[in-house]
């Protein structure tokens, strides 16, 4: 989406206004500052937390779980998605089942992962994988189907080899859709892993946030929320930026 400078400035202004409102509400005592510590205190706490070894460790744990789940779910899901798009019979059999699996809430199965894997790395990665795989399958199918038949016909009529078709037609037409898929899968993945950490875990940033909540440590809790939100949004915007870079491929 095209955005002029004014609009970008207005967006920054809105974010600043929200933080300012937060600060004012808390400082003036309109809201109990034990329930809502001032924004400045929270940000100071955030800076402090980022220095702590335990928090750094938690972030590392979460990051490794997210990456592991992602590394498992993407190739696996992409393979199934590709088969679905290319094999008619397989698609007819499996698509309604997958659509069904896709539409049911995944988080209620979280307790089963604990029953099977116990509490630990495997349970969180497993659940992250489970939360992500369906969206990867769906998006891969969409990506393959977004390749235009006319483009394939043109390539074939000029005698393109299979490899040439793959690299010169499939890949460039699929790239924008794949990037979008990557972005959305990551959202699902992160949500899955953090929920798993909050539900039952010994480490990870989700676990830490849940603990701060249980102990009524509002400053740390809000700092944690801001931290995770900032990380998620940064990643999201990063992929979107790449997306707009290659958006001219999409017709």
């Amino acid at each position: 989406m095209q955005a002029t400078l004014t609009i970008k400035l207005a967006r920054v202004a809105i974010v600043i206004a929200i933080f300012a409102l937060w600060e004012v509400l808390s400082r003036t005592g309109l809201v109990n500052s034990r329930l809502l510590p001032p924004a400045s205190d929270t940000l100071a706490t955030l800076a402090d937390l980022l220095q702590r070894a335990s928090v750094q460790n938690d972030l590392m744990v979460t990051a490794s779980e997210v990456l592991a789940a992602f590394a498992l779910a993407v190739p696996f899901g992409a393979l199934i998605g590709f088969l679905l798009a290319e094999n008619r019979y397989f698609a007819d059999v499996a698509k309604p089942l997958l659509f069904f699996a896709f539409s049911i809430p995944k988080s209620i199965f979280l307790p089963m992962f604990i029953l099977v894997f116990g509490v630990g790395f495997a349970q969180k990665v497993g659940f992250g994988f489970f939360s992500t795989i369906f969206i990867v399958i769906m998006s891969t199918t969409t990506a393959v189907e977004s390749v235009k038949v006319e483009h394939l016909t043109v390539a074939r009529s000029y005698g393109a080899t299979r490899a040439q078709t793959a690299f010169r037609v499939y890949l460039p037409s699929m790239l924008p859709v794949l990037l979008e898929a990557l972005r959305i899968s990551m959202i699902f993945n992160l949500t899955g892993v953090i929920l798993a950490e909050m539900y039952a875990s010994r480490d990870g940033i989700g676990h830490q946030i849940a603990t701060w909540g249980e102990n009524f440590q509002m400053k740390q809790l809000l700092a944690g929320v801001v931290m995770v939100a900032a990380i998620a949004m940064t990643f999201n915007e990063l992929i979107r930026w790449v997306e707009t870079r290659c958006s001219h491929w999409r017709t």
Binding site: L115, S139, E145, V177, Y199, M233
Partner: protein
């Protein structure tokens, strides 16, 4: 073999395996209790599950009113005014990337562990997709229809009631379907995390004492709830299918994934 037959066989096969594998001892009952023992567990504690279901349904109903009411209202405003749309929409979809579940501890500190914190969390959880869908629905209305209505002398009110609202209905419905599903998930998940009542609470309590059949009975109950809701809205959507033709054909691939993103996350 016809695809449909094979698919039905797979479904029947999975159900049979669910019963046989745990019975034969090939899968420990702790991991996967057999179908019959799950149903039996649910049946034996029917009163307890029934009470929990009432609590959960109450929270779902209130949250849905907040999430869908607010989402449709704000989505309509943002969708129909170009300036706020350009300003806010990218921010909202950026917010969408945040795992909202981290807000739940904040709500428990503020509102306690009763129904209020669940309702607050689930309302916010279901709000975003409903709003995004409604805004998108208003935007995809064919401008030609509005021009035609204007040429017939339709007033602003008439254009809203007779053109904009009916034309936006299908997208709003799919927003409701996704938003509503997220509300159910939001309530159950928050009950699972910290609470003292509801189906999510039951699931978590039985999980801590490793009573798998009762955990599965609760999970099944939530599944039925989600599926029933989904089926009901889809039925209404089909009834309103003729509306669909009023939309401009959008960029399909992007939209499909976009709407995929609005499916129940976790």
């Amino acid at each position: 073999m016809r695809a449909k037959t094979l698919r039905h066989l797979i479904v029947v096969g999975l159900i049979v395996l669910w019963e046989l594998l745990p019975r034969a001892g090939l899968i420990p009952e702790l991991f996967l209790p057999s179908l019959s023992s799950t149903l039996l567990a649910g049946w034996n504690e029917a009163a307890e599950y029934g009470h929990a279901l009432a609590v959960t349904l109450y929270e779902v109903a209130v949250s849905m009113a907040f999430a869908c009411g607010g989402g449709i209202l704000l989505g309509a405003i943002v969708g129909s005014l170009p300036r706020p749309r350009l300003l806010i929409m990218p921010m909202v979809s950026s917010l969408y990337a945040v795992p909202l579940v981290i807000l739940y501890p904040v709500f428990t500190v503020w509102l306690g562990i009763g129904s209020e914190s669940k309702i607050a969390f689930a309302s916010i959880y279901g709000f975003l997709p409903t709003m995004l869908a409604t805004a998108a629905g208003i935007q995809t209305i064919d401008p030609q229809l509005l021009l035609a209505a204007r040429s017939m002398g339709a007033t602003l009110n008439q254009r809203l009631v007779r053109v904009i609202i009916p034309a936006a209905i299908p997208t709003v419905l799919s927003g409701l379907r996704v938003g509503g599903a997220l509300v159910i998930v939001g309530v159950v998940v928050s009950e699972m995390l910290i609470s003292s009542a509801g189906i999510g609470y039951l699931i978590s309590r039985y999980r801590t004492i490793l009573d798998s059949p009762h955990v599965f009975a609760g999970v099944l109950l939530v599944l039925f709830m989600a599926i029933a809701f989904n089926t009901a809205i889809r039925w209404i959507e089909r009834k309103a299918a003729i509306w669909q033709t009023g939309m401009r054909a959008g960029q399909n691939a992007a939209d499909e994934i976009g709407s995929g993103a609005m499916q129940p996350a976790t």
